[in-house]
């Protein structure tokens, strides 16, 4: 059969499309849940109306987003069985457990408490309502933890044995699966990237309103919160990316060699800034390199030997038998660069913004601004001119989605960089697809999902834009007088619900 339309190729495309799409919503959901919870906490503690308005504004965007995250997540739960039944049979004993934990512990948490939060404004006392959004936030984090533990096991299988008789992997140490260093590093990296994503989102939208001098008190607060989240999230993303990289050099040298398009091992090894490879011949045509940096990234010194693609391939052939153990090198190489490039561009913008809008005690008296004024962007002592200020706001707005691109490439890199393995060193991807599912069935489902997802993307983005433009809502009497009893106060039995579908 034509390889391009082989069930394996189609199943991989489908997994890639549905997963990358799902992961557009996940990091925003994780970070916006926590940020909304933080804003509502500020409202409960200070009673300042701007915090409640901010909670409602960001909460609405969060809800529009999580709806998509939840529904696209359903597909994730079932497509292992649909398209990857041999994978499911082989790894279910190990891989199924964290998935079941995720559903039983995290999904129930998230979806039950989100219902309470959405409909609970006039049914729950302030503090209990606040507790609900924190529960949602904990749910999102737990959910991510379990699924990352499952993925980490595919990257670096531990705590299992092969049962030859049943022809499958069996779990021997669940705790190890949950706590191995691949899991911890992936969790650290993904969580911080999620906050980088949410921070950039918040900064971009706050910049949009501040540029037009609208909703200033709420957006000023949001800008600050977004910038701090973006900068802290970004710095942790960089640090955890570095440690995760070092772990990968140990566990999957091929992935990292491909990330660098380093064909032959070198010592000291350079970091490649740009390369154009001659993949068939196993070397680069053009390359621009920083000497020694790769040695440092992989082993924390500028001298040590880093193995290349060709030597790693030979080592793997010796270990696993004849075959080609190379991933698609340009995808790994450019995926790695786009991940870092887009992520770090957002971080730089955040750090710059944090400095430009620094707190008043770092600023000369003349350029300080009040709570209801658009903050000046101050590079040294004087505010930036109108044009440069506008340029910064526009940059923040237009780069809002950069972390989403970085996230997507991060996953494409780490998943495609592991190929030809689906479980590294244990099971190859070509042995994982469903043998009983026909080409027609996969093509059907791919067309259906792609069309549906595209249509929903248009709807979602338009809806987000509508609510972004509308700005924070005005507060009502009911908003400012939350109930004191669970189930709502019985002052007026016919009063309309504070929120209804």
């Amino acid at each position: 059969m034509d390889l391009a339309l082989a069930p394996e190729t189609l199943a991989r495309w489908q997994f890639g499309i549905t997963t990358v799409y799902h992961f557009l919503f996940v990091p925003l959901t994780i970070s916006l849940a926590a940020l909304t919870a933080g804003l509502e906490t500020a409202w409960v503690r200070t009673g300042k109306e701007k915090y409640l308005r901010a909670t409602k504004f960001w909460g609405k965007l969060f809800l529009i987003n999580i709806a998509m995250g939840v529904v696209t997540g359903i597909v994730q739960e079932f497509q292992f069985g649909m398209n990857w039944s041999d994978y499911s049979r082989f790894v279910g004993d190990v891989f199924g457990a964290p998935l079941a934990f995720e559903a039983l512990i995290a999904f129930f948490f998230e979806s039950t408490f989100i219902g309470l939060w959405i409909f609970g404004w006039d049914k729950l006392p302030k503090k209990i309502h606040l507790a609900c959004i924190w529960m949602v936030s904990i749910g999102t984090l737990l959910s991510a933890y379990f699924i990352l533990a499952a993925n980490s096991w595919m990257q670096h299988p531990v705590g299992y044995r092969i049962n030859e008789q049943r022809g499958r992997a069996e779990l021997t140490d669940f705790w190890l699966v949950l706590t191995q260093n691949t899991t911890l590093n992936q969790v650290f990296h993904s969580f911080s990237a999620a906050f980088l994503t949410g921070g950039a989102f918040m900064v971009g939208i706050a910049a949009f309103h501040l540029m037009r001098k609208k909703h200033i008190p709420v957006m000023r607060t949001s800008l600050r919160l977004g910038l701090v989240t973006l900068a802290v999230g970004g710095l942790f993303t960089a640090v955890s990316g570095d440690t995760l990289g070092k772990v990968m050099y140990e566990q999957q040298p091929m992935k990292m060699a491909a990330a660098e398009a380093l064909w032959e091992g070198e010592s000291p090894a350079p970091f490649s800034v740009f390369a154009y490879g001659d993949v068939d011949k196993g070397h680069n045509k053009v390359a621009l390199e920083i000497p020694g940096l790769l040695s440092f990234l992989s082993h924390s010194d500028f001298e040590s030997y880093v193995p290349g693609i060709n030597d790693t391939n030979e080592a793997l052939q010796e270990k696993f038998g004849p075959g080609d153990y190379k991933p698609i090198v340009p995808v790994a190489y450019w995926g790695f660069r786009w991940m870092i490039g887009f992520g770090m561009a957002s971080l730089s913008l955040g750090l710059l913004g944090l400095w430009l809008t620094r707190k008043r005690f770092l600023l000369p008296a003349a350029v300080r601004t009040g709570e209801d004024e658009v903050p000046h962007l101050v590079l040294l002592k004087k505010p930036l001119g109108r044009r440069l200020t506008r340029l910064y706001w526009l940059l923040a707005l237009w780069t809002m989605a950069f972390p989403l691109i970085a996230n997507a490439w991060g996953w494409i890199f780490t998943e495609m960089g592991r190929q030809p393995w689906v479980v590294y060193g244990v099971l190859q991807t070509r042995d994982a697809v469903s043998p009983g599912v026909s080409q027609g069935e996969i093509i059907t489902s791919m067309i259906v999902f792609t069309t549906l997802y595209a249509a929903l993307a248009v709807i979602e983005v338009k809806l987000l834009a509508k609510y972004v433009k509308a700005g924070p809502p005005e507060l009502t009497e009911a908003d400012l007088n939350p109930p004191t009893k669970i189930g709502g106060d019985s002052r007026d039995a016919d009063k309309p619900m504070a929120f209804s579908y």
Binding site: G73, I74, F78, F80, N83, G115, L116, I486
Partner: protein
């Protein structure tokens, strides 16, 4: 009782929880066309399940995840075998979730009407298809010696399974009507009770034929007990509904679902997916299950998590215990 038997029971519990809970919210979705006279009433119905439908749906994800972990081969054979029906269910669940969340987020009538039809169809189709799926699981499908499904789509659309689909559709709609009577106020509450009677009678006829057929084909004495409980509870639910005892009617329609699904699982055991080609090729609790270690960990997790889930989900229903009428729906809510 060995751990894989415990897990057979737990998987049954998760499916029962799913059908009990999502059953009435599917029913409410169907009733938006059958019961509601105008758009205000539609919104009343949708809002009775507003805070809870998402939590209800997680019972399905848990059943799926737990099947993957406890019976990997069952998970693999079922979802790769029932590929296209499952695809249709997934599409419905995706659109349905978005429909609830997005329907009121724009004021345009055409926008809202489109999402309302989406809610109707995406509730009706899965309510039917889950019955077809379970009908086929119980009846047995073409599974070869390698545990692969070798039939095609048309094999799944046999009379027995289609009858199963009609039973779940009718039963869930009845369950939804009873729920609507329990949760609403005013005119719609009265009409929900009247409609529930008619739906109850249709359900009783369909369920009696389907469960009787199942009993004749695969049943034993325990499944007969479950059948009797299901039928008695259904008749009692119709009676309670007529007597205006809405809480009882809902509890009893719930018991009908519990007993009917329990009966299907009882006729299945110790198989999980019987093969219609050769009895030796059936997937069973032993040949499809995970290792004892995995099952032990999963038992701890489910044993602790499930009761807690029931507690806080139950609390949710208590928080939103007030009935809803058209007066509670704000005009310009979007």
């Amino acid at each position: 009782m060995e751990l894989h038997d415990v897990w057979f029971v737990l998987i049954a519990v998760l499916w029962i929880g799913y059908f009990f809970l999502e059953g009435f919210d599917f029913g409410i979705g169907v009733l938006t066309k059958l019961l509601a006279r105008d758009r205000a009433e539609k919104r009343v119905l949708i809002n009775t399940i507003g805070p809870v439908w998402d939590g209800n749906e997680v019972w399905l994800l848990s059943a799926g995840g737990a099947t993957f972990a406890a019976f990997p081969d069952w998970y693999a054979t079922l979802f790769s075998g029932f590929y296209l029906p499952l695809l249709l269910i997934l599409v419905c669940l995706i659109v349905r979730g978005v429909a609830f969340e997005y329907r009121a987020k724009r004021p345009e009538e055409s926008w809202q009407r489109n999402w309302e039809s989406a809610i109707f169809w995406t509730s009706l189709i899965p309510a039917f298809l889950w019955g077809v799926a379970f009908g086929n699981i119980v009846r047995g499908v073409k599974i070869d010696r390698d545990m692969e499904y070798v039939g095609n789509l048309w094999d799944l659309l046999n009379p027995y399974a289609i009858l199963g689909g009609l039973v779940t559709l009718a039963l869930f709609t009845f369950h939804g009507a009873v729920f609507a009577a329990l949760k609403t106020l005013g005119d719609i509450r009265e009409r929900a009770r009247k409609l529930a009677l008619r739906l109850g009678v249709v359900t009783a006829v369909l369920a009696l034929v389907f469960l009787g057929w199942t009993q004749a084909d695969k049943g034993d004495s325990t499944s007969l007990v479950a059948l009797i409980v299901a039928v008695v509870a259904l008749v009692a639910a119709i009676g309670a509904n007529q007597a205006g005892r809405e809480g009882w009617a809902f509890a009893l329609s719930g018991i009908t679902i519990v007993a009917a699904v329990a009966m299907l699982f009882l006729t299945l055991f110790p198989n999980v997916m019987p093969s219609s080609l050769n009895g030796d090729w059936s997937l069973t609790v032993t040949n499809a299950s995970s290792s004892p270690y995995t099952l032990k960990i999963m038992t701890w997790c489910a044993g602790i998590a499930t009761p807690v889930v029931v507690l806080y989900q139950g609390w949710t229903y208590w928080v939103f215990r007030k009935r809803i009428g058209t007066q509670h729906i704000a005009e310009a809510a979007h």
